[in-house]
Each structure stands twice: as C-alpha cells, then as structure tokens.
C-alpha cells in the first residue's frame, strides 16, 4: 500500500478496525498520496483523510456508479490496459438489456434471473468470445457499461447518497488522476443487500484505471478476523470447497460431472484434495473417493441465516456445532436468532468464554426451563496458546508459535477436532453404509509432536511417486499421482521446509516492499496477484520505475521481483497463456461485466477448462435501496430493492419498518476497542475501561430535538426490537440532504451482550436480517429506527 498514490477507503474504518493498515497509508500519504474516506460517520479514519465524504448507508453503488460514469465520460480510463487485460472490447449478446431496474431474464416469481441473454457473442468455431475493435461498438462490454452508468450523474448520485455532486466529481478526479490508487473496504461495504455488487464496482473502477496487478493498486478487503482469510481459503464459506473450488452438490454425482460444471482446472484440484484425504484408498476406479464426500443439496442454502430459520420452521437442524462465532451477538434480528436456537436439539460451542450463544438459554427475559436445547461448551485455546498458520488479507501465511499453554482443560481447535473425529470414527467402525465410508477411508494421521505442521504438510501435498513434498501448483497432476489438501497452498512446504516460518524482513531487492523471503504467500509466494497486468501486451512493465515482473525475451521466460502470475513462465506474450493476466477467470482477462462463459479446455475435448463465476443479481452493479430505506429508489421507483432479494423470508418474524414510524437510519459497526461479539475483548478490563458500554452516536441537531445530552440514555427501536443505551452527541455525525429531504443517520457499535465482564444490550436486536442474495451477508449497515430519550433505564434486548 505504501506505493499507492491514492486511497479510496469506502466501507472501512481502518484506523479503528485495521490499525496496521494506517501505517502504510500514512507512509504513502507522506509521499503525496491522497486519502479519500467515504463513510456515514466521521471516524478516526476520516481524521487523516484529504477528502471526507459523508454518505447515506447502503448507497455506495450510486456514487461509485457516478465515478465510473465520470471516468468514462471524461476519458480518464487507461485504454491500453482495458484493451490488453479486460473484457472491455468483448461483444455481449445484443439481446442483453436493462430496463427499469431489471436486467433481461428476470423471473418475478422466483426472484431469479435466467441469464442466457447475458453472455458473449462467441466465435462459431473456437467458442471463444468475439471482440470489438473500438470502444464505440454498442455491443461491447465497455459501451454497455457506459450506457448503464450514463444514468448515474453526480447530481443523481448526490440526491441518493447525500454526497455533494461536486465532491463526487472531486473524488473521481482525485482517484483517477493519482495512479496507481488502491481501494480499501471492509464490512461497511459488504453488509448490505447489494454488498457483492458494491465490490464489483470497485473492480470496475480499478480496471478502468488500470490499477490491478500493480504495486500500490488493487482492491484490499480488510478482513474482520486475524485468520478469516485462512479460514476462507480452507473453505469455511459454505459455497466453497478448499481453495475456492466449488462445493460438490447432489447434482454432480461424479468427478466428471463436477468437471463438466466447474471446469477441468478446478476438478484437478478437487482430485488432489481427495488424494490428500483418502490417500491410497482414492483410486481412479473409485472416482478417487469423490462419492464418499458429503455433497450439498443443490436446492438448499447453507448460510447461517437459512440454517437457523430452517431449524425454526422445519426442525431439520438437529445439531449445531459452533466455533469461532457468537451469533447471539453478531447475527441480526437477535430475537429471531434466539427463537431458532431454541428449536435445535443440541448445540456444541467451542469457545474461550461462556458466550451469549453458549448460554443463549440464560438470556434475560428467558425462562431456561422452557428451552429444551442441550448445550455443550468445549473449552478452546486462545490464539496465543496454539501453534499454526495465520493468513492475512494479503494472502501471506505466517507461522505462529504457542506463547503459553492453554489453561485447564482447554485445547486447541485442532486437538478438539482430532479427539472428536477419532471418537466418531470409532462409533462408525462397524457401519457398512455408503454414507459412512468417509470415516473408514479418510486418512487421519496427525499424531506427530507438531500436529499443526502435520496438517500443513497434508495441505501442501506430496508427490506420491517420489514421496517428496509438492513444490508448487504446477506440480499437481490430474492422474492421482499427487496430492494436495488445498491447491493454493501447494509449495508452502517446498522441500520439506515450512516456508511460512521465514522472517527475513531485510531483503527487498525491488524496493517495493515485497520481501520475498518473509513468510510465504499463496499462490506460489506471489506478493502481488495478477501482476501480469502490470505489463503491456508485449510483456514490458507499464511503469518501468515500479516494475514488478517482465518478459525476458533473451531467456525466454517471465521474470521479475515478484513471482510472475502467468499460467506458464515460458509462454511468452505471443501465446494465449502469455496474455492471461487474470488467468483464474474463464476469459483470462478482467471482467468489467460478469457474464456466463465457459472456456473450452484445449486438452480435453468437449470439456470446459474454466467457468466464470457469476453473481446472481446481475452482470453489472445497479443501485438498489436497502430493504429499510427512508426514501424511494430515485433511479427506478418500481424496483426499490435488490430484485433477487427474498425478504421477509418469515413474514411474521421479519417485519419491515417504514420511514413514517422509523425516521432515522441506523448504521452499526465495530470499535477499535472491542472486537466482533466482544466475547474476548469485553473480558479485558483495560478495553472495557476505554469503551465501557454500548452507545449510540447522534448528531447535535437530533440530540437537541430529542432533548438528550451525551451520557444520557436513549431508547432506540426498530420494527424488530429495542435497546436502551447512552447517547454520544457528536459533530462527527451530521444529517444529510437526500432526495430533497433531510435524512439523519445514527450509529451504534454491535459488540455487546449479556455475558462477560462488560454487559450491555446487543444492537443486533434491532438490525435487519435481510441479506445479500449472492453471499448472504446480512444488511447490518442500514436499517430504520426511531429514538427517544429513555425514561426507564432498561432495554428489552
């Protein structure tokens, strides 16, 4: 980040929640970089910003669309980059359309798109997309984007977001003219019913400006937990299998079916994972044990919201095993969460503390006798008490050692799962049922003095012929001769050395801060992913002063300071592989619009090599209001909210508040001083001293109207629930002019609950449990509430 010339921080309060990021932002700032912060509230991050824009929660796509439009209209884009590394010139099907807030193919019954009209015009023979020669071709992606965003003038965006039109122009101007620029976001961007599309806007802006693959460019997702990146890599996301391959589901009974659906490239890695898990038991004859895997029901959604609601509605969730999460604080609409947990027969919680979830039956106002759920609390070890790897947002994997032993009977998650698995395996040892084969076949041999490293070795993988550790992704084979538990980590244990333990923070020949011998980054120790895009078509760096990689014609290979992100080091710019800067997409280039496409596998007849992933709610980001919004959708009043959204899912339990009863917008977030559910931090008295209780930040104007001062209690309630917390009146909060009227946003931290040393009402009692239709991220950042000065001290939450 220190190489960036501009920062757009939108949906992140990094000074408070990702403090270390600020170090590098300030270093860049000292070299003249401009910092833009867009946020509903003026935060500690805003304090260092060169431009601060106050925005109404949930309207990011409106101003980002205006920025996209501004860049296009004023020709601020990087044409060479667009031509070389994006699908800007790809021709879309002429039948693709967007009218009145809906893309072509929308089915109002199912709230789903039938996306056959969204694709590319394909070459009859090669089945590859046809390309236009000019950006003016009305069917090319670029022209479609231009047309789509022509509605997003700064004035319109200003009406929606509350950001002055001039400031939107200034932001666009500043970010476009100071390149490379980078974008930082966190949950402020994702916890919306349009979250995924908002991030797509960031991608589009960065493609337009040629800011991806370069030092100082990119889109930085600032992740919420220290190892959430690592957890996602290992498929904690319910849609993904290890290494972001898709989950097998019941429609894909064989590996071949899987390959046909998801491409041969990814199927290879599933195969390698199967080899890692089943060892010799996985053979070509038995489809490498693919059939033993538990497959998802393709018709079901496995997000936590759906799982819990399924428990409440159908009672088909018998046992819930929760680790590293405290949904009784962090999930929205907590009254419903409590109701659903009460329907589950047994809940196992692996935790450091007795949390609100582990003791949900003790919730104030609940009669424990009325709850039949059996809860087991397993004492887990803190991160400083266990050894293992941790992966940061930059994909860097660093090994951590145990600092101290866990207290009492507490054990690391790994030990607990190991013990549990062995016990379960024993229970199934006599079963002959097919569904239980997984227990009999799986290799489970981590009984080494260093269990965590044994697991990492399995993740890295082995060449089963030579017995040597896999040295990189390129060594993985599709014939069962290699194994790798998670292909993107292949090479971390190259030559039997745990590279994540490396700590050379001095060697940086590039001067760009790459430090190639410090720890290890996936894939293949690459520091800046998509770095092929830092070079032009001929393989020469766009910016020779900040060269990352280049094509060395003399040696006939890609080389440079970083590990080149190319399919093959020896396939030069003249080859197809030499131009696949975004090789993980089916197109091989950056996708300005995300539409269906299968890239044929040149080696396997009739099979796709890659499939482009899609968002369900449209190929181009479009602005929709949050479910609870104080105003009508200015762009298309008939399509107020994301059309693919199904909400309420449980009409009697998910009421939608309206602006006449709930005139204020509530935005929620975490604090520098408390982390997530606060389970740990609220048990640290030093942190409780800093922020001892939950509160609501309100602008002075509203405070005056309510007749409250800082430190006095306020009742905050929504259609779902209410809390009573203290008010903090601050000029950092200000009302906005939106669609011709004044809209006031208030803000609350969500980190409290009824357990721990610092207790307080949970803000999520009032938040809405609508969720993004793609990833089911909850809309915690925008809902409607009302406020009044509290007469009694206690809240019902």
């Amino acid at each position: 980040m220190k190489n960036a010339k501009a920062f757009l921080i939108g949906g992140s309060n990094c000074a408070e929640n990702h403090v270390m990021a600020i170090k590098w932002i300030q270093k860049a700032q000292a070299n003249g970089a401009k910092v833009i912060h867009v946020d509903p509230r003026f935060t500690r991050t805003s304090s260092i910003a060169d431009i601060y824009a106050r925005i109404r929660p949930g309207t990011d796509i409106a101003y980002l669309g205006a920025i996209i439009s501004y860049i296009i209209e004023n020709k601020l884009y990087d044409e060479q980059y667009l031509r070389a590394h994006t699908n800007a010139l790809y021709l879309m099907k002429p039948e693709f359309a967007f009218n009145d807030g809906l893309f072509s193919g929308f089915d109002p019954e199912t709230h789903k798109y039938e996306n056959s009209s969204w694709g590319y015009q394909l070459d009859e023979v090669s089945k590859t997309p046809l390309k236009a020669t000019s950006f003016d071709d009305p069917n090319c992606v670029f022209a479609k984007l231009k047309a789509h965003y022509s509605r997003y003038t700064p004035e319109v965006a200003s009406q929606i977001t509350g950001i002055p039109a001039e400031q939107i122009r200034l932001i666009a101007e500043t970010f476009a003219k100071n390149r490379p620029g980078t974008i930082l976001y966190a949950l402020g961007m994702t916890q919306h019913t349009t979250g995924a599309q908002g991030i797509r806007c960031y991608g589009i802006i960065q493609f337009l400006l040629g800011n991806i693959g370069k030092p100082g460019g990119g889109v930085n997702a600032l992740r919420g937990e220290p190892n959430v990146q690592g957890a996602c890599d290992m498929s904690v996301l319910y849609t993904y299998f290890a290494g972001y391959t898709s989950q097998p589901d019941h429609n894909l009974p064989t590996l071949h079916d899987y390959a046909k659906k998801h491409g041969t490239f990814r199927a290879k890695f599933v195969l390698n994972a199967l080899k890692a898990w089943f060892g010799n038991a996985a053979t070509a004859e038995n489809d490498f044990g693919y059939g033993w895997l538990m497959r998802k029901n393709a018709t079901k959604n496995y997000s936590i919201l759906n799982m819990l609601e399924s428990a409440a509605l159908k009672g088909d969730l018998k046992l819930l095993y929760i680790l590293g999460q405290n949904p009784m604080v962090t999930n929205p609409n907590l009254n419903l969460v409590h109701e659903t947990l009460s329907q589950i027969e047994m809940i196992v919680v692996e935790e450091l503390w007795d949390t609100e979830t582990a003791s949900f039956w003790q919730r104030p106002g609940t009669d424990p006798k009325s709850i039949k759920t059996e809860v087991l609390l397993l004492p887990a070890a803190y991160f400083m008490e266990k050894e293992g790897s941790i992966t940061n947002s930059g994909r860097m994997v660093q090994w951590r050692y145990a600092g101290v032993k866990p207290p009492g009977e507490a054990k690391s998650d790994l030990e607990i799962i190991d013990l549990l698995y062995k016990k379960i395996r024993d229970l199934y040892k006599d079963s002959t049922e097919e569904k239980d084969q997984i227990f009999k076949r799986a290799v489970w041999d981590y009984d080494s003095p260093n269990m965590a490293e044994a697991v990492l070795k399995e993740i890295n993988g082995t060449n089963l012929k030579t017995g040597e550790m896999i040295g990189g992704i390129g060594e993985l084979q599709a014939d069962g001769s290699t194994s790798s538990g998670n292909w993107i980590y292949a090479g971390i244990f190259k030559n039997g050395i745990n590279l994540s333990k490396r700590r050379d923070n001095k060697t940086d020949p590039s001067g760009l801060g790459l430090f190639p011998n410090f720890a290890w980054s996936w894939p293949g120790n690459m520091r800046i992913i998509y770095n092929r895009a830092s070079c032009d078509e001929t393989g020469k760096p766009f910016d020779p002063k900040n060269a990352l990689i280049w094509w060395d014609a003399d040696k006939g290979r890609w080389t440079g300071w970083d590990v080149p992100d190319v399919p093959s080091l020896t396939d030069g710019p003249e080859t197809e592989n030499g131009q696949r800067a975004f090789r993980m997409t089916a197109e091989g280039v950056g996708r300005m619009v995300a539409i269906p496409y299968y890239h044929p596998d040149p080696k396997v007849e009739g099979m796709p090599r890659d499939k482009s992933s899609l968002l369900s709610d449209g190929p181009i980001p479009e602005f929709y209001e949050p479910v609870e919004s104080p105003v009508k959708n200015l762009l298309h009043p008939k399509v107020q909210v994301n059309p693919c959204l199904k909400y309420p899912r449980l009409p009697d339990k998910q009421p939608i508040g309206t602006a006449d009863k709930y005139p204020y917008v509530l935005c929620t977030a975490s604090l520098a001083e408390h982390w997530c559910a606060g389970s740990t931090t609220r048990n640290v008295t030093w942190l409780n001293e800093l922020v001892p209780e939950p509160f609501v930040e309100i602008p002075p104007k509203l405070a005056k109207k309510l007749g409250v001062k800082s430190g006095e209690k306020v009742r905050v309630w929504s259609a779902r629930g209410e809390v009573v917390v203290k008010a903090v009146v601050t000029n950092r909060m200000q009302p906005l002019k939106v669609c011709g009227r004044e809209v006031t946003t208030v803000w609350m931290p969500y980190n409290w609950g009824y357990k721990g040393l610092s207790k307080g009402p949970s803000t999520n009692v009032i938040t809405i449990d609508a969720a993004d239709p793609n990833v089911w991220c909850q809309e915690s950042k925008a809902c409607l509430v009302n406020l009044e000065k509290a007469t009694s001290g206690e809240s019902k939450g």
């Binding site: 000074a15 600020i22 304090s47 910003a49 001293e689 800082s710």
Partner: protein, 715 residues
C-alpha cells in the same frame, strides 16, 4: 545523554494501543468508566491507574474535510528537564535519571504529595484506593531497559537478528513500541527535536510552528507536534521558565541565612545587653522578670473542657479511621486536591504559633523584659501547636513510616525537606525552651544545671546539622557552627547569674524564620496555580512577616482568653506593648506584600479576578482595619479594641493561609486538566483538625495546671 519522545499528533489515529500497552507493561488496573460527554475518550484524566491516555478533540474547522479536525493527543508525564516534582520531593523519591526519565522510588516516598501540587501538568497522581497511597506516573519505561533479554524463542536460541530486535524493542517505552503509526518516536532529545523541526520544515502547512516541550517549563523530554494550538488539545500553557528556578534562590539562601541571622540576633542581643549594662539599669532579674510563675489553680472539668475533651477524643477516633480506611477512604482528598484541610490547619497553626518564637525573640534577644511573664505561655502554646502539627502530618502523610527517609536522603532544593527538618528541630528547641518550666515544677536543680550546660551545645549541634542538611556543604556548616559556637561561648552563663536561654531563643527565631518562610517557599513552585495576588517570588518573606503578626496576635488573644476564662486580671499594659509590636509587624508585612505586588504590576491587571473579594478582606479587614485599631497606644489599651484588632489581624492571616492553600489556588488536577475541581473536607478531616485544636487548648490548660507556666497573680 538524555532521551525524549516525540508525539506527532498529526499522525495519531487515536487507536489507544499505547494506552492499553502502558497498562499491560506496568500491570495497572483498569478504571471504572462510563460513556460521557467526552465521547470516546476514557478515562477523563491521568490517574494512578492510567499513566498515559489519549484525549479526543473535535475541533471545528470549515477548511478541513468533514468540517472538523479530529485530533488525538497522548498525554503522560512530561519528564521535564528540570522537574518541579523532583524539586519538590523531600526524600528524592522522585528523581531525574541521566536517561531523561523522571522516576519514582516508592520505598523512599513519605507520601507528602507535594509533587502532585508542584507539577504544572498534574502528572504525578496517588492511588487513593490504597491504604498507603503512593505516587504513580509514567516512568518512561525505564524498567524495560533493565529487563533481561530472552535467550531463546520457540525452543531455539535467539538469532543475532532477533536478539538485536529484542534489544531495540526493550530500549524504547512500551507505548512507542506499540504505536502503529509515526506518531511516537523515541531517541536522544537532540535527535528527536531535530526530527520534529524537520517535520515542520518539510510540511509547514501540516503543523503549527511550535514544538510543545522544546521550551515549556524549561524544556521537557516529551515533545509535541500538532496541527492546532496546544491549548486545544489539553496541553496547558505553563510558560517557558523552569519551575524549580522559582524556588531555588529562596532555598539556597537558607544556609547563609541561618549563619547570618544567628549572628545578627547574637549581635542584637549583645548590643542590647551592653546598652543595659552601660545604663546600669539592670536590676535583679527576678524583679525585671516580674512576679514569677505559678501553676494555675482551677477546676479541670468544666463544660468547656469536657467539650474539648470529647472533641479531642473524636480526633483520636478519626485518626484510627484515617489509618483503618486509608487516606483515600477517610478524606475527600483527590488528585486535584492532593492537599486539603489538614494542610490549611498546618499552615495556619504554624503561622499563629509563631507567637512562641516572636515572644522568645522579643524577650531575650530584644530584651523586652516586660513581656517576660507571657513567654512561658507562648512557648507552651507553641510546643503544643507544633506537636499537633506533627500529629496532623502523620495523618496527612501517605506513608508516614517512611519519615526516616528524611534523615538519609539529600534532596537538592526541596522546600518540603527544609520545612520538615526545620520544624522538627524547632520542636526540639521548643521542648528545650519549655524544659526549665518542668524542671522548676519538679524542683530539679540538677536538671536545670544540666539544661543550662547542654542546651547551648544542643543548639550548636542542631543548627550545624540543619545547615549541613540544607547545604551538604562543610564550609557553610563550619561557618554556622563557628557563629553559633562563638555566641554560645560569648553568652555563656556568668558565674552567679541566672541562666538566660538566649541560645535557645536565637535558635528558635532562626529556625522559625527559616521554616515560616519556607512554608511560603512551598508555593514558589506553583506560579501556574496560585492567583498572582498571592503568588510572589517573595512569598517566603510574606509568610515569615505575617507569622510574626499572627503569632503575636494569638499571644494577645490567648492572654485575654486566659484572663477571662480563669478569672485573672488582664495585663493590658503588657498586651498593649505586645500589640505595638504586632502593629509594626503587620504594617511591615502589609507594606512589603502590597509593595511587592504593586512593583510587579499586580494591580495593573485590575482587581477583577475571582478571588478579589478574598484579597480585599485579607488586606482591608485583616490588614488596614486591624492596623487602624492597633495604631495608637490609646486604642491598644482598650481591651475591646485590642481584642478586635488582634482578632482581625489574626483572621486576615488565617484567611491568607487558607487562600494560598485552597481558595486562591486554581487547581486543575491531572492532565488534560478537565476535571471539575471541587473539594469539601470529610468528617474525618474536620474531626482530626478540630479535635487536635481542642486537644491543644485542653492540654494548655492542663499544662498550666501542672507546671508554672502562667505568671503569678499580683494582687
């Protein structure tokens, strides 16, 4: 080579990791806090549990993004180059190390809390929760330097690289190590200062052109850069002068002053004596000395004495409560009001007990023989008063059992040290002065002889010891020794003459002059807090002069009280004579005080401050009106007028002391000095103070009944 750290508030993002890390490294408990009008800032100020903290400031600025500057300032001890706290400490419990840190040694501390008052930043704080409150503040993590380096990590020996990193980490304060931004930098003061200057130069629009701490309070080891005036982020305007510089001249003057004053008093005595011898007016001392003394014959138990006894008993109970509950638990003292009612009483008491030295001086040095008959009473009153001041101090000190540290530590220029020793030695002198009364009562000739022989020698030893302790200089000690030895020799008792305690009287006056003035010197360190109508570089002189007027007034009042309550005749002539001296003392005091104030331009600012009324009461009622009432012999001879005059004079000076300690003090508490300052003494405080005064009066009566203190009634 002195270290310093730079706090560049423009880089600070208010993450407060410094605040938490500080607590972690120093193992400090958390404070109980609430969300308040301070917004995210918590706690409100530094305290014994919080050595460093971030203050949050929302400063409107239309030019800036969002219409404001959101500024975060890290506060902690400033580690002054010339620290007021170190200068204040009587036992060197606080000291400045060569590395630049001002650190604290609890094993030495007596808990006087003078440092808390002296510090212009309010950095030293006390742990009031503790039964024995110690001082707490940032020590620049000097203990990190003493931390042994780890030799292995992850079961492997530490690599040279890691060892170096480890050593570097331990070479800077925990807060600096933890800071994720460029906000905190630690290094040699010159380097850090140079960096601060370079930052301003490189980015002049980012900063205001001022490095706070470069010159403030004579320079500090904490240097600040900011984009807004420092007054807006909780950093007080403390001026550029070193605080100890205000008190050093007064205190370095003590050793020579002892020798000179002793000599002057001796010479005065000789001259007066010679005059008397030349005039041959000397008659038998018995006659000169009046009718002699007798024990008071009266009933001990009267309603008044019973009440006094009950109050005294309550003081005893309160003292028990004080130690059972601790200082914090039994008093309403706080980090803002580290000193309270007890110190007011101490100062008042010592001032009014000045009657003992003043009368002794008048009688023996100035040969005011007509006052001889009231001398013993004045001495007993002084002895009792000072003794109970000592008792109050035992209650007031946080760690009284460390008092012996006063004997083994050598602070350079601490007014508190001076006062402690001087008062302590003076009590022994008072005791020695009172000895003959007891011996006379016991009819011990042998005792009187021993006393006659040893008292002058004790004086020489006491004075020499005192001078040595104050100067740590053998030459000054030798000079004082010689001066007093010569006097002792010159004034030795001639064969056949009655013993005259002239050496004790000279010592009494000398010691009293020193500590009465040094009590004023205590406040020289507080020009930032004490209203300029009271603060003056010559406040020691004011204190000394006023103590004479107050002391003599009290003697007058005491004599009138004795006469009234024990049905004795009022010796109006004698008292009028004393009142004349009182008038002169008061006049000199007022002229000096007001003259000094006028010369320093104290009036040009106008009398508009909040404390003007108090000042006017002091000077007009306690000063001018008292002077008028005592101005002529006729008025002085009228008992009513005399009573009123003495009362006003005394009252004015009592008010003066209360003003100096409490009312005219603008106490701001620990930085950021935002706490409302409020103090009302607790029941225990009142009980101790009032009870001990009652005990003084009661014991005076008992003393007068048991020993020949009061003059024989001449029928």
């Amino acid at each position: 080579m002195s270290n310093a750290f730079l706090i560049d508030t423009t880089y600070c993002i208010g993450c407060r990791s410094c605040q938490v890390t500080c607590k972690q490294w120093n193992e400090l408990r958390a404070e109980h806090t609430e969300m308040s009008e301070l917004g995210l800032q918590n706690p409100a100020t530094l305290s014994a549990k919080t050595f460093t903290m971030i203050t949050f400031h929302e400063i409107p600025d239309a030019e800036k993004p969002g219409g404001m500057k959101y500024v975060f300032a890290k506060l902690q001890c400033m580690h002054c180059n010339e620290p007021a706290c170190v200068s204040a400490c009587p036992v060197t419990a606080l000291y400045k190390t060569e590395s630049g840190a001002v650190i604290y040694d609890a094993d030495k501390c007596i808990g006087c809390r003078y440092c808390m008052w002296a510090c212009p930043f309010g950095a030293p704080t006390a742990d009031w929760d503790s039964l024995a409150p110690k001082i707490h503040k940032c020590d620049l993590c000097f203990d990190r330097l003493q931390e042994p380096l780890p030799v292995e990590r992850n079961r492997k020996p530490l690599s040279p690289d890691s060892a170096e990193r480890e050593a570097q980490a331990l070479a800077e304060p925990a807060c600096v190590k933890q800071c994720p931004t460029e906000a905190l930098k630690f290094g040699k003061r010159e380097d850090v200062l140079a960096e601060a200057k370079a930052r301003i130069k490189a980015n002049p629009e980012r900063y205001i052109d001022h490095i706070y701490g470069e010159k403030e309070a004579g320079g500090t080891a904490v240097l600040y850069l900011a984009s807004v005036p420092f007054s807006e982020i909780g950093l007080p305007d403390v001026g550029n002068e070193s605080y100890p510089a205000h008190s050093i001249p007064a205190l370095t003057a003590v050793p020579p002053a002892v020798a000179i004053l002793g000599g002057v008093l001796g010479m005065t005595y000789s001259l007066k004596k010679r005059k008397e011898e030349v005039a041959k007016t000397e008659v038998a001392s018995d006659k000169t000395h009046g009718p002699g003394f007798a024990t008071l014959k009266t009933k001990l138990f009267t309603p008044a004495t019973i009440l006094l006894g009950i109050l005294a008993l309550l003081a005893g109970v309160a003292m028990v409560a004080r130690f059972a509950l601790g200082l914090g638990g039994s008093t309403n003292l706080s980090d803002t009001y580290a000193w309270g009612l007890w110190i007011v009483f101490d100062l008042v008491w010592i001032a009014v007990a000045g009657g003992a030295f003043a009368t002794a001086g008048l009688i023996y040095v100035f040969h005011r023989k007509e006052l001889y008959s009231i001398g013993r009473g004045a001495v007993l009153m002084g002895l009792l008063s000072y003794s109970f001041v000592m008792v109050t101090l035992v209650a007031d000190l946080g760690l009284p059992w460390h008092f012996w540290q006063l004997g083994v530590q050598a602070p350079e220029h601490s007014a508190m040290f001076e006062v402690s020793w001087c008062v302590g030695l003076y009590v022994t002198i008072l005791f020695a002065e009172f000895m003959p009364v007891v011996l006379e009562r016991l009819d011990s000739r042998r005792g009187i002889e021993l006393w006659t022989k040893w008292a002058p020698i004790y004086v020489i030893v006491a004075v020499s010891l005192f001078v040595y302790l104050m100067s740590r200089d053998l030459i000054w000690t030798a000079i004082a020794f010689v001066v007093f030895a010569v006097m002792a020799f010159a004034f030795r008792r001639k064969e056949g003459s009655k013993p005259v305690p002239i050496m004790l009287a000279i010592a009494a006056v000398t010691f009293s002059t020193m500590h009465q003035s040094s009590l004023g010197s205590l406040f020289l360190l507080m020009p930032d807090k004490l209203d300029p109508l009271w603060w003056s570089p010559i406040i020691p002189v004011n204190f000394f002069l006023s103590s004479i007027a107050a002391g003599l007034s009290l003697v007058i009042l005491m004599e009138m009280w004795i006469a009234k309550s024990f049905g004795r005749a009022t010796k109006i002539e004698q008292l009028a004579s004393l009142a004349r001296t009182t008038f002169i003392a008061l006049l000199i005091y007022q002229v000096v005080r007001l003259g000094d104030l006028a010369l320093r331009g104290g009036f040009t600012a106008g009398l508009e401050g909040p404390n003007t009324v108090l000042f006017l009461i002091e000077t007009l009622v306690g000063g001018l009106l008292a002077l008028i009432l005592l101005s002529s012999a006729k008025l002085r001879s009228n008992p009513g007028v005399l009573l009123a005059g003495a009362l006003l004079c005394l009252g004015g000076i009592v008010l003066n002391r209360a003003n100096v300690v409490l009312f005219a003090m603008d106490l701001k508490g620990p930085i950021p000095q935002t706490l409302p300052s409020a103090y009302s003494p607790s029941l225990v405080e009142w009980a101790v103070s009032i009870g001990l005064i009652s005990a003084t009066i009661l014991l005076f009566k008992i003393g007068a009944m048991l020993t020949p203190v009061l003059a024989k009634e001449t029928d």
